[in-house]
Symmetry: D2
Subunit: 329 residues, 4 copies
């Protein structure tokens, strides 16, 4: 079966997903829509898809699924619209910044019997997936502790930041999902600390730029997340999982493999500093997974429910910081 897909949105990430689809033989990109017709038309031209309205896409019985790549505040409505139209939906995270609304559309998708996959792309990164696979194979024994380092290369613009839901719902949410992915047990309590250390403007919008979180599960497993909105040396994305038999560590990706050895030491390349470069392979793999879930009628490995739980954890982080206490989940 060739899975027929439509792109809702024609921005940066939509273009990435478009390339992932056209490079595959088991899927076809048939339609694109966007609030900005020019962007939609350009993407359609580049890929051989057609520029259509969202309504036409929803009404087109030949389309199996859609990829929602629009601003966050439109996600929930679009999921609802296309789920009700019987389309499988891949949606960039988060489902919605409001937990109740997020849960609502997850329920709608479930009731409509369509697949709802969340864009937690890091689960599909070859290295993180290999770590998860090593755990599943028992290589490191029972998981005990997870350490997640996640530092963005540069501070986002304040316009984006102020609409993002804040560091916990915008950035940490990826790491909260990663913690769950690796822990293999749900957290039952958490402590979060956060501060503005980089850019005072974050204080003005009631946000933070630096945060650390401890999650603890019922059996005592612990996950630690450290976040910063700025890492001069590149996009720092590391995970360690410590188990009873050993440790699985995922290291960073560098811009190149050159080192220069001089009298005062060796100079090696900074880290890749753009999420699309660092996670190129994971974007392609998550789209392949969405296509496979439709073609083989199996549930996605990152679901709307995962999105709801991650959002709930992000909200708890904020509560922990604001109330200066540990939060039971």
């Amino acid at each position: 079966m060739t899975v027929k897909l439509a792109l809702i949105g024609a921005g940066r990430i939509a273009n990435i997903h478009a390339d992932a689809i056209t490079s595959r033989r088991d899927a076809e990109l048939v339609a694109v829509t966007d609030a900005m017709p020019k962007a939609a038309q350009a993407l359609a031209d580049r890929t051989g898809a057609l520029f259509k309205s969202a309504d036409d896409i929803a009404a087109d019985a030949s389309i199996d699924g859609v990829l929602v790549c629009t601003p966050t505040d439109t996600h929930a409505d679009l999921i609802e619209k296309f789920a009700r139209a019987g389309k499988h939906v891949f949606c960039e995270k988060p489902v919605d910044l409001d937990l109740a609304r997020a849960q609502e559309v997850v329920d709608i998708a479930r009731d409509a019997a369509v697949k709802l996959m969340l864009g937690f792309n890091r689960r599909f990164d070859p290295s993180f997936a290999a770590a998860r696979h090593a755990i599943d194979e028992g290589k490191i024994g029972t998981v005990e502790m997870v350490t997640i380092t996640s530092r963005d290369p540069g501070v986002p613009d304040m316009g984006y930041a102020s609409r993002s839901g804040g560091i916990f719902r915008d950035m940490t949410i990826h790491d909260l999902d990663m913690a769950r992915f690796m822990l293999g047990e749900e957290p039952v309590t958490l402590s979060a600390h956060a501060a503005v250390l980089i850019q005072p403007e974050f204080r003005r919008i009631g946000d933070y730029d630096s945060a650390t979180v401890i999650l603890e599960t019922a059996s005592g497993r612990q996950a630690v997340i450290t976040n910063s909105r700025r890492a001069t040396y590149g996009y720092d994305q590391r995970v360690e999982i410590h188990g009873s038999l050993g440790v699985a560590s995922v290291g960073n990706h560098r811009e190149n493999q050159l080192s220069i050895g001089l009298a005062d030491g060796y100079q090696i390349a900074p880290l890749m500093n753009f999420f699309m470069t660092r996670y190129t392979a994971s974007y392609a793999a998550e789209i392949a997974e969405f296509i496979a879930c439709i073609a083989k009628d199996r549930p996605p490995s990152a679901t709307g429910e995962d999105g709801v739980i991650a959002l709930m954890l992000a909200n708890a982080c904020l509560e922990s910081v604001e109330k200066k206490t540990r939060v039971a989940l």
Copy 2:
């Protein structure tokens, strides 16, 4: 200007180059030909190009250049044909296994005032290019020694090997070009040693599977190449350039960034074991260079002449092994 290109050949490497062209905005793939019409048609369909005959491509005044991706024994004739037709030519190495014929078509291309670029793709690898750039910037001072480790992941099939011209003309030739690229001076003498250590069949076809070469320039700079037709741990591609101020080293690419630490030590991923995966970026970069050379009318940085010299060095390696002596160039 949009550079219009045609692919001569529709095999594995032609498909790679096709993707590199279609992903760019400064070039267009307009035609494909191949001795196997089915392969040519499939590639044409996939890319929106037209399947045409080689004669039609040569006669099409709108086509600026061609990429010759056919078997080695057709290279020289195709270069000649398209050069005479006024097309710029990108050709996979080698120009020809016969040195005189190779020089002849290089001369033809020069007389026809078309650009002839050789597919020494490694020069365009981001890490090797960064090393060359560091040398040019004076970071390691005057170059003194170059060390090239080049080990294929697995033995080629004997059918390919027997038509390949032998290890020196098929495999070492890339490293001989890399040595020249990094030395910054022409070699004037060389010593080569070779043996059959891996697969006895190489002996039957008069070839070797393991080789080491020292090149020396007039000022005494030395380059060492070690080659093996098999590396169980992946595709081993390293270069070190030692200079008066320090060393530039290019390391390998691993399959992933996962390490597993256990009681008996750490396990890390093997090297990428396929040349197309390892050199993905360099293939895209060499095509970008060919396009830029046409668009901006500048000479390519890996020329037909470079191909002739590399072949001459490969022949000298063979002579050194067979006569058990050092060879003056």
Copy 3:
């Protein structure tokens, strides 16, 4: 000046310090005492020192300083005894498990105008010291976050563990001192989580084997400590300091520099798995520092006061775990 020193205790760490002293030209080991005469005599014989009683050492006006290397519950009394006798004192951590008593003997030493140096040896490790030096030079800008990974190679025996004061006062205390050393600001609040994941016996003695701590300073700087009583892959001792300009990271020491590359990946050596091997250089350096402080009459860089603060932080960790809350300091 040659600094004359006596060893109080003749066990494992005393022998290490004895070697550090005898290898130096600016110090002399003149006396040794121990509750076990045989051990004291053997160490005296090996080093050319004399076996004396603690009282004789205290009374010997030629002795400048003593190194207290006895069980924890004797530290405070011995510090008091030798401080009152006018000897400079180097003491293994902790000063005492009781905070009031620890503060008392620190005050006694101060009033006696003798130097009291605490054996926070990691501050003297060449790599950690180089990190601190890089911070002092401004290389990474203003410190923002510190991440400390500290995992023992193997679970201590339960007899030792039950007298140790628990994981926070025995093990984390080193990391709490390291956090202060690198943060450059005192923590004002902390959250700690702990569990028994490795060996159920820890539960029986009211202790934990796995812990994570977040420390926060008044300006919002954060330090994260992760601890485990067991790391199969060796003694895991890493520190990262993130600043406004970059990151300083101290990695682990391996048993050797051999890697074996095979078809299923590379195998590299486990970490050094014994604290005396990993920290050989830091033990020598802290003794050199103690000698220099006496010879040059300057204050030690790890004082009794540092010991008291670290103990206070360790107690707060325990309180945070037990009360399931964040603790203000």
Copy 4:
């Protein structure tokens, strides 16, 4: 049994060996001699040994063995003297710069039934020894190629260089021994290239500062040695052994484990830049081996004969360079 040893020479390396002996319980340093009485007396004082004449040491029946740590031109005579006196002899390489004289004293030692061990300390380095051990265990299969990188941190002074026998007999000789140690087969032919690239004074004394050598065994195994008298980034000492199943690689030792990540990349420490620091463990291990050979009456693993063969290979390198040809051995 406690092995009683005497040091012939009291310079830098003699002091290193003295420490190795006194730290052990199975050996005792009983005497020291040196042409400079002051140096001998100082070393004797420091270690509790007696300053004696060489004749007295030779005549002392209680002494089991001697360590010859004097200038090269005295080695052969001292080996002869002490072998004839029935002492086991450890001697720094080379035995003698004259091949015939070297063979003569090796024969004398053999006829005197004393052990003659050569100071090829690198064989005892924990990492190189682990590589050899991995080969012996079959981990990398049949050895095919060996690559040795050996670059001194800094140019020796010309006085030393002019008495040293030249780069091949002074420096490469260690690598020639390492090649034999790892190849597991004797070389039968070699090609060497050398030049003066660093310091013109080497030309004046008829020596070279940069050299590359290929050794080939009867079955076609190849070893490559690259040598330089200067490496700004530290003492570069690496070995790779490629076999039918994989590769064993020994990497360098760095000054510390700190890395600093900044916007323009990561800075890591230079290599240890002093042979005594880099090879601390190997010096201790070779002395332990000499003591064990005497105590257990077993042959040393680096013999006088190994010294003769390495010298013969070094001479062949020189011949290859001077005659510009491959040399059959």
